[in-house]
Amino acid sequence: MARVCLKDVNLQFKIMQDKSIMSLASSLLSPGRAQKCSVLHAARNISLHLKDGDRLGIIGCNGAGKSTLLKLIAGIYPPGSGSVEVDGKVSCLFELSTGFEMNSSGWDNIRLRGLMLGLTPAQIAQKAPEIAAFSELGEDLHRPVKHYSSGMFVRLAFSISTAIEPEILLLDEVISAGDAGFIAKAQKRIESMISNANILVFASHTMPTLMSICNKAILLDHGSIVAAGDPAEVVQTYNDHIVGKASQCG
């Protein structure tokens, strides 16, 4: 039984100020330009309950806190206050082309990433051919990944992250970088994962994909949940929202 439970979660980022002595000196010389330490409230009183079979879509403008919420669920960010409880094996797919050993081959990266995601060497040896086949990278897997294109990174990252049979899959708008053939294949895999009664959390700006995959949705604005419910309705709210605040939204 996979489960995600967030209670009153808050997270504030303290934006790093330029702490160098040069900037200190310049702020002394011109006090008017001195900046205060700025705080970004990326998650405000977020409460969320997800159980098996839930496919949650997260919608919102750029900077609304979608990625932050995913990283809170993934356990990458600790909550500033509130509680995050997650039962189940989590796999996440966020930024691409990071988290790879750039000078190592695709095969080596499959092994390394697999180990990081909690597989044993024996399990990786067993799954590696399947991961390689799904990525369709073929001979390119022998090349160092620094020569990969962004689409190839997507293929590799997605293939590894989904091969570990996660109970909870967190996706951040990434599959859209693949080509049409791969997106179709990725969607098929996501669907088969969902049919195994797992949890999916999907942040996206691609509304048709989101509506076809998800059965629940939330709308985020400045870190708070402003709407929740049926994906079609929330997407509608979002569209109205965009029209209303066209100047602020990207």
Binding site: A74, I76, Y77, P78, V90, C92, N103, L112, L115, T120
Partner: protein
Amino acid sequence: MIKYWQILYRRRHIILALTKQDIVVRYNRSMLGILWALISPLMLAVIVGFVYGKLFNTDFKSFFPYFFSGLITWIFVSGCANAGTTAFLIAEGYIKQINLDVEIFPLRVALSTFFHYLMAIFAYYAVALFCFPEIFTRNIWLILPCMLLLLWISSSITVIAAFFNTYFRDYTHLQSIVLQIVFYVTPIIYQPAMLADRGASYIFEYNPFYYMINIMRAPLLGQPVSWSVFGITVGLGCLLHLAIVLLYRYRKRQIVFQF
């Protein structure tokens, strides 16, 4: 405290895989490859050892093993501290993407530095076989426990450097100056007796690096390790270990916000 070892044990595969990757990538596409790990300490020791032997007007046979063993041990300890500064920073891609135990990253750099130390020791023994075989005494077995002890201490130094530099980016500059000073202050290239003769033995007696060098130098020279050196080194190790346990407990989860 036990938790730290549990994490390292649970993550042993990934630590070893990353270490191996670091070593392989480092010698990738070079013609001599891993042989460089043997050649570079050898070249350094022979050339610098020759010059300093002349400078101090000492007999090559007595000075060279002393100098070589101290130098490679120093290179290991300072190498751990240097590599530690970027241990978390270079792992940004992993730390921001995957929820995993960050403990693996400092250990990864400590172990690849340790690998080079092992190769240097190998070079040392190869030279010893032909030039000064008298160092092969019955004390040679001491090398193993002493090596593990020094690895334990140096890996803690790596962790501390990793944390400090992640939070204060000035640390790496400060540390490199301190290490340079320590190199000259510690009897690595000269004998402690040279200081003691001038009544300045306090310079090394209160220097923790002196004990860290000596814990390996004694067995490398085929001498027994004195109890005082052993005791002080173990005490130092415990202190550093306590420091890293506290750092991990209170600062580990905040690392992700420091990039």
